[in-house]
C-alpha cells in the first residue's frame, strides 16, 4: 500500500483557494451550478474496484461499463438525469426551451466554463460533439438514440452560448438522450476527427494533458493492468451551498479487480472503500460484520436489470436446425409459454438467488423504475395445477412415467442455455429445472461461457430456450425499443424479423413508435402500460426477477446516495467527501 502524506493546513488552504482563483479568469461572469447537498470538506482519496480495466477513455466509442464509469467522471453532459429522482435536470445547459410539438430544443449554455485543461467551453464544442456522434462513419453507439423517425437530429449554433437541436419528428425522450453524452473539447479532438482517426484517440496510452473534459475529475495517471488515477478538476462548474467548488475528493482511483468475490475481499481488507455492486449473498455475508468492519451497506431497491427466459421463435432455424424447429411448435403456442410461466416459482428465485433482496417480475419494468412501472399488472402466480390444466387444454398429455408429451406423443423436453460464469442465473436455471419437472417437462441446463452463449442467441440461433438478463439503459421506454420492436437490434425472441410475425407484435411496434412521438408523459405512460400488458399476456419472454441494487461504502464517506441507475454509487462522485480529516484515507 502506498503511504499518503498527511496534508498540512497550508496545502488545505491552497486546495480551497486555488481552484476558485483559477476558475475566475479575467473576472468573467461564471455560470456555476449550486447544488444543495450536505456541505463537506475537501481532500482525501477514494479507491474503487472495477471488474476490468477500461478499454478506452474515448467517450465516442466506449461501450464497456468500466470505460463508461471512468469517462463519466471525466466528462459532463448538457442535460443530466438525476439518478435519485430519475428526472432530467440542467447540467452544462443552463436552460432549454422546446417548441409545442416537442421537435425543436433551444439550449442556453452556461457561460464562462472551462475544460479541465483550462480551455474555454462554448457552443462550438457542443456543435462539434454532436457532429462527431452523428457521423455515420464514426459508428458511435450513441448515434441510434439521436435519431427520430430514422433521421438524425440537426444541430445549429445560434450564438456563442446558444444551440438549437431539431428533430424531423416530435421526439418524446429528447431531454433524456442528452444524459451521458459527453461534450468533447473541440480544441483537442478536431484535428483527429478531420483526419478520420477519432476512434483511435484517447486510449490508455494517451498522456494525461491531451485529455480534457468538463467532468468533476481529470486523468492523472494510468498504470496498465493495475490502476487508473483521476484527480480533482479545478475548473469544475458545480459548487455546494457555501460556494465551495466541487468535487471534494482530491483523487479517485480505479483498481482492476476481476471477480466480484475478490472485490469483496479487497474491500474487507481496506484496500478499496466502496463496492459498486454487491451480490445478494455477499451482502448477507457482509451484513454480519457491518459494525466491526466499519462499513455501511446500502440497499437501493430493485434495479433496472431484468432476468428472463426467452423462447427461440426465430424463423430462420427452419430447415437449418430441424430439432429446434420442431420444438418451436410448442414454443409458438401462447398457452405453452403461459403454462411454463405458471410453473415457475418466482418467489423461490427471489428468496434463494437474491436472499429476498429482489422482486419478482411480470414485465421487463421493475418497481425501481418509478416513472414507468405499472402496478396493475399482477406477478404471475405460482401454480403447477393451473399450468397442467392449460397444457391439457392445449392438447398436451402425460405418459405413464409422468412425462409431458405433445399431441403426437413426443416427450416435451428442452435445454435452457445459461452463461455458466453467472452464478445467479445458473442458480435460477437449476430452480426452474426442478419446477418444470413437476409438470413433467424434462429440462437440461446447458451452461456455456458468456461469449459462446451470446453468440448462439444473437447470431447462430442454435438454442431452444435461454436464460438471460438485460439492463434497461434508462428509466424510459425508448431504449427498450431495441428489444421490444420487431425490427430492434436485440429483438431476442425473433431476431431479424422483417415484418411482425403476429398481430400482437405488430401492436407492440405501433405502440412503441407512438410513445416515442407523444410529448405528454401521461399519454406515453398509457401507451407503454399497454405494451407491458401485451408482454405479460403473450410472454414471448418469461420475466423472472430483478435484483436490488446493493452497494457498500466504508464508514466516514459522506453524501453516499446509492441509486439504481449507473453508476450506482459514483453517480454523485463530485459530492462525496470524507467525514474524517482529509488525507486520512
Amino acid at each position: 500500500m502506498r503511504s499518503i502524506r498527511p496534508i498540512t493546513p497550508s496545502f488545505l488552504l491552497a486546495c480551497l483557494l486555488l481552484p476558485a482563483s483559477l476558475a475566475r479568469p479575467e473576472g468573467r461572469q461564471q455560470d456555476l451550478l449550486k447544488v444543495s447537498v450536505p456541505v463537506g470538506h475537501p481532500g482525501g482519496v477514494l479507491v474503487v474496484s472495477q471488474s476490468s480495466e477500461p478499454k478506452t477513455l474515448n467517450p465516442v466509442v466506449a461501450v464497456d461499463q468500466p470505460s463508461r464509469d471512468v469517462i463519466r467522471r471525466m466528462t459532463a453532459d448538457l442535460v443530466h438525469i438525476n439518478r435519485a429522482t430519475q428526472k432530467t435536470e440542467p447540467a452544462l445547459a443552463r436552460s432549454w426551451k422546446s417548441n409545442r410539438e416537442g421537435s425543436q430544443f433551444t439550449v442556453e449554455l452556461r457561460r464562462g466554463l472551462r475544460f479541465s485543461d483550462g480551455a474555454p467551453f462554448t457552443a462550438d464544442d457542443v456543435v462539434f460533439s454532436f457532429q462527431v456522434y452523428l457521423d455515420e462513419k464514426v459508428h458511435s453507439p450513441q448515434r441510434d438514440l439521436l435519431l427520430a423517425g430514422g433521421k438524425p437530429m440537426r444541430v445549429e449554433k445560434l450564438g456563442p452560448y446558444t444551440v438549437k437541436f431539431s428533430f424531423v419528428a416530435p421526439y418524446a425522450p429528447a431531454e433524456r438522450v442528452f444524459d451521458s453524452l459527453a461534450i468533447l473539447p473541440r480544441h483537442l479532438l478536431e484535428q483527429g476527427y478531420k483526419a478520420g482517426k477519432i476512434n483511435q484517440v484517447w486510449n490508455l496510452t494517451t498522456s494525461a494533458e491531451k485529455i480534457a473534459g468538463l467532468g468533476p475529475f481529470r486523468l492523472k495517471q494510468v498504470l496498465p493492468g493495475e490502476k487508473l488515477v483521476l484527480e480533482r478538476n479545478p475548473y469544475y462548474w458545480k459548487t455546494d451551498s457555501q460556494g465551495q467548488i466541487l468535487p471534494y475528493l482530491n483523487e479517485l482511483i480505479f483498481l482492476t479487480v476481476p471477480s466480484r468475490d475478490a472485490q469483496v475481499v479487497r474491500f474487507r481488507a481496506g484496500e478499496t472503500q466502496i463496492i459498486t455492486q454487491v451480490s445478494a449473498e455477499n451482502y448477507s455475508a457482509l451484513l454480519a460484520d457491518q459494525q466491526t468492519g466499519r462499513y455501511k451497506l446500502y440497499d437501493a431497491g430493485p434495479g433496472l436489470e431484468y432476468n428472463f427466459l426467452v423462447f427461440n421463435l426465430n424463423d430462420d432455424v427452419k430447415g437449418r436446425l430441424p430439432a429446434i424447429a420442431q420444438k418451436q411448435t410448442w414454443f409458438r403456442d401462447q398457452r405453452f409459454r403461459e403454462a411454463v410461466s405458471l410453473a415457475i416459482d418466482r418467489a423461490a428465485i427471489v428468496r434463494m438467488v437474491y436472499q429476498g433482496r429482489g422482486v419478482a417480475l411480470a414485465t421487463p419494468v421493475s418497481p425501481g423504475d418509478k416513472l414507468w412501472f405499472d402496478s396493475d399488472i399482477p406477478i404471475p402466480e405460482y401454480s403447477p395445477e393451473k399450468a397442467r390444466k392449460l397444457l391439457q387444454a392445449a392438447g398436451f398429455s402425460w405418459n405413464s412415467s409422468g412425462a409431458l408429451t405433445d399431441s403426437s406423443g413426443q416427450p416435451v423436453d428442452f435445454s435452457i442455455l445459461v452463461n455458466s460464469g453467472n452464478v445467479q442465473r445458473s442458480q435460477m436455471a437449476t430452480l426452474i429445472q426442478e419446477d418444470l419437472k413437476k409438470i413433467g417437462i424434462n429440462v437440461h441446463v446447458a451452461g456455456l461461457e458468456f461469449r459462446s452463449a451470446t453468440d448462439r442467441v444473437l447470431n447462430s440461433h442454435d438454442y431452444e430456450v435461454a436464460l438471460m438478463g438485460l439492463g434497461r439503459g434508462d428509466a424510459d421506454p425508448t431504449p427498450d425499443m431495441s428489444v421490444l420492436s420487431s425490427d430492434g437490434d436485440i429483438h431476442l425472441w425473433n431476431m431479424g424479423e422483417k415484418t411482425p410475425a403476429t398481430p400482437w407484435e405488430a401492436e407492440i411496434d405501433r405502440l412503441m413508435r407512438k410513445q416515442q412521438v407523444t410529448p405528454n408523459y401521461a399519454e406515453r405512460k398509457k401507451l407503454f402500460d399497454r405494451v407491458q400488458a401485451i408482454l405479460a399476456e403473450q410472454q414471448p419472454m418469461i420475466f423472472l426477477a430483478s435484483p436490488n441494487i446493493l452497494t457498500a461504502a466504508r464508514d466516514g464517506l459522506e453524501n453516499v446516495r446509492p441509486a439504481i441507475m449507473d453508476n450506482y454509487i459514483l453517480w454523485n462522485a463530485d459530492e462525496l467527501f470524507w467525514h474524517t480529516p482529509a488525507g486520512k484515507h
Partner: protein, 341 residues
C-alpha cells in the same frame, strides 16, 4: 507386509467404489431433492443429549428454524427432535440403474431432514450429493484411465515391435499429444457440442477426450518395454518357429506389459479424478443437477460461501482418501512388479 498393504488398499478401493455404486442406499436423500426453505443449512450432527440435558439412547437431530429476518441463518429448534433410524424406507431410487428400491441406510423420522454435511444453495443434502458425486468422479477417473492405458498399450506395442518409421511416427505424434494444452481443447470442444445432448453424454464425451489425449505417456513406457522384450530369446524363438507378428504381440509381448499397464492405471486414475474435479469446477464437466465433487466445490468459489459456509468446502476432501489409496496401490504394484521381474 507388502501383501497386506496391497490387500488393504485394494479392499478399501473396492469398498469405496461399491459404496458409490450403491449411492442410493447410503444417501438418505436424492441428489436433486431441493428443500427451498433451508438453503445453506449447517451440518446437523446427531446428538445423544437434548437441550434440557436429558440423555437419549437413540441418537437424534434437531430441526432448524430461520433466525429473524434472515433466509440463510438458522438456529436449532429444541422442540423438534428427530430420532435417527437405520434401514428406513424413503425416496425411490434404482441400484446401478436397474433394481428399484426405497431402502436407505439411515434417515430421520419427523418433518425435517438429517444433513450430515449441511445443505447447499438449493437446500440439497450435501452428504447425499457427495455420495452420488462419487459415482461421477470415480467413473470419470476409471473410464478415462482405462481408455488412456488401453490406447497406450496398443500404440506402444506396435511402435516398440516394428521400430523404424512406425516408431518414429508414433512417438512424434505422442509428443504432440503431450504438448497439446488439453484444457483449451476442452473449452473449445465444449462450446461446439450441441446443447440438446444430455449433460451425462456431454460429460462422457469430455472424459473420452481426456482419456484419448493421455495415451502418450503409457505408450512411451510400453514401447520401451516391448523394445527390450522383442530381443529376448523366447520371442526370437517363437518367431523362428514361424509365429506371425500379430501372434507374437498378442501372446508374448502384450502380456508382458500388463503389470506396467496396471501400475500406470493406478497412477492415472487419481489424475483423471482430479481432472474431472477441475473440469467441473470450471463448469465444463457434468451439468446440474447431477453432482460431482468438482461442481460441488465450484460453489465454494464465492466469497459468501467461503466466509460463512465452511461445510461447502468438504467435497474438496472427498477425493483425498482415494488419492492416497490409489497411490499406495500403484506403489505396491510397482514393488511387486520389480520383484517378479
Amino acid at each position: 507386509m507388502k501383501q497386506r498393504k496391497l490387500f488393504w488398499t485394494a479392499a478399501f478401493l473396492v469398498g469405496a467404489h461399491l459404496m458409490a455404486g450403491l449411492a442410493g442406499f447410503f444417501a438418505p436423500y436424492h441428489y436433486a431433492a431441493q428443500d427451498r426453505l433451508h438453503p445453506y443449512a449447517s451440518p446437523s450432527l446427531p446428538h445423544l443429549m437434548d437441550c434440557s440435558g436429558k440423555i437419549h439412547l437413540r441418537p437424534f437431530v434437531y430441526g432448524i428454524r430461520n433466525k429473524q429476518g434472515s433466509f440463510t441463518d438458522y438456529q436449532p429448534d429444541c422442540s423438534a427432535q428427530m430420532p435417527v433410524h437405520f434401514l428406513v424406507t424413503g425416496e425411490e431410487y434404482s441400484l446401478f440403474g436397474l433394481i428399484p428400491s426405497s431402502l436407505h441406510l439411515f434417515g430421520v423420522s419427523g418433518p425435517g431432514e438429517i444433513n450430515l454435511l449441511g445443505t447447499d444453495a438449493f437446500g440439497r443434502d450435501q452428504f447425499s450429493r457427495v455420495v452420488y458425486g462419487a459415482q461421477v468422479s470415480l467413473l470419470a477417473g476409471g473410464l478415462a484411465g482405462v481408455l488412456a492405458v488401453f490406447a497406450g498399450v496398443i500404440v506402444g506395442t506396435i511402435s516398440g515391435f516394428y521400430g523404424g518409421v512406425v516408431d518414429e511416427a508414433a512417438m512424434r505424434v505422442a509428443e504432440i499429444a503431450i504438448a497439446v494444452p488439453s484444457l483449451y481443447l476442452l473449452l473449445a470442444a465444449r462450446s461446439f457440442l450441441p446443447l440438446e445432448i444430455s449433460p451425462l453424454m456431454a460429460f462422457l464425451l469430455v472424459i473420452s477426450v481426456i482419456g484419448l489425449l493421455s495415451w502418450a505417456r503409457p505408450a512411451r513406457l510400453v514401447r520401451g518395454l516391448v523394445m527390450s522384450a522383442r530381443e529376448r530369446n523366447f520371442v526370437l524363438a517363437a518367431q523362428g518357429f514361424g509365429a506371425s507378428k500379430s501372434y507374437v504381440m498378442r501372446r508374448h509381448l502384450v502380456p508382458m506389459t500388463f503389470s506396467v499397464a496396471l501400475t500406470q492405471l493406478a497412477i492415472l486414475i487419481p489424475q483423471f479424478i482430479l481432472a474431472e474435479v477441475v473440469l467441473s469446477f470450471l463448469g465444463l464437466g457434468i451439468g446440474e443437477p447431477f453432482p460431482s465433487w468438482g461442481n460441488m466445490l465450484a460453489e465454494a468459489q464465492q466469497y459468501h460461501v467461503l466466509a460463512s459456509c465452511w461445510w461447502m468446502l468438504l467435497p474438496g476432501l472427498a477425493p483425498v482418501p482415494f488419492f492416497v489409496a490409489y497411490h499406495a496401490l500403484a506403489d505396491a504394484l510397482q514393488k511387486k512388479t520389480k520383484v517378479n521381474l
